[in-house]
Symmetry: C2
Subunit: 129 residues, 2 copies
DNA sequence: ATAGTAAACGCAACTGTGTTGCAAATCCAT
DNA sequence: ATGGATTTGCAACACAGTTGCGTTTACTAT
């Protein structure tokens, strides 16, 4: 995937992107570190840099939830300007809701320009209900 | 307002709530500190605690934006479970959009329960266009 | 294959937000 | 006014994320 776009390949990028692709939730850097610790041990900084890079290149997207921690998720629909996420109020898990459509007219003030829309639904996930 | 609800009054709570009520944006603790520095100087911790308290008591609400900083805003419509915010991608200003209605069915997974909905529109504000 | 170069990595040190423990100050009911 | 609970300020801390820099790695040109 990465080579196909003519980008530089490193083992970090491969493992991290593969892990994110296999995961349907948005995950924190801790979760990534933990899941990859047998395969490859990364410095925290490297992890952040790889994730930023993946984000910049459009392979993943990044979101911040109520605990103020970045979470990352592989992009399924590229170039999508709409994201919807569910945050569990109890276990803080974040799930991406891929299929949503919004009414687009949310009374923006005069002169304001919308570029991206993010919808966050907070509640309880199936395990925490 | 605070007394009316039978809650304890302190000068911090008064000044901070008054400031938030007079402001139509969601503001960071820095902005609050700056705006109040002639009237009253607070310790950072006190500010956070007052803001948490105001949030718990439902006088204000709290949101985290892309810079991972809490922002606070006085509640206009109490008990509202829907918030909409606009974030400027250039100046990171946050404005609350009070009038929005959502289509309510965002395909939550089986067993998930929605309790709060937050819509964030990212783009450029009038000054940054 | 090999050498050279640009990019990526690891380490250490740093920044900034937000939190905790505790003693001193303040609020408010009596 | 006074006593007891609540708030405040200070110092120290926790943790996510960042920066600088010297070393290593990936790719390119030979």
């Amino acid at each position: 995937m990465i080579r196909h776009r003519g980008e530089r390949i490193t083992s970090g990028r491969i493992h991290i992107l593969a892990m994110l692709l296999s995961e349907r939730r948005a995950v924190t850097h801790h979760e990534i570190e933990k899941r990859l610790k047998d395969k490859h041990r990364f410095d925290r900084v490297t992890l952040y840099r790889v994730l930023d890079w993946l984000n910049e290149k459009g392979f993943v997207h990044r979101l911040v939830s109520a605990d103020r921690v970045w979470r990352f998720r592989a992009n399924i629909h590229e170039h999508s300007q709409q994201h919807a996420h569910f945050e569990c109020l109890r276990c803080t898990k974040v799930v991406c809701l891929d299929d949503f459509e919004t009414a687009h007219d949310f009374g923006l003030p005069e002169g304001y320009r919308s570029r991206e829309v993010e919808l966050t639904v907070k509640g309880l996930c199936a395990e925490c209900v």
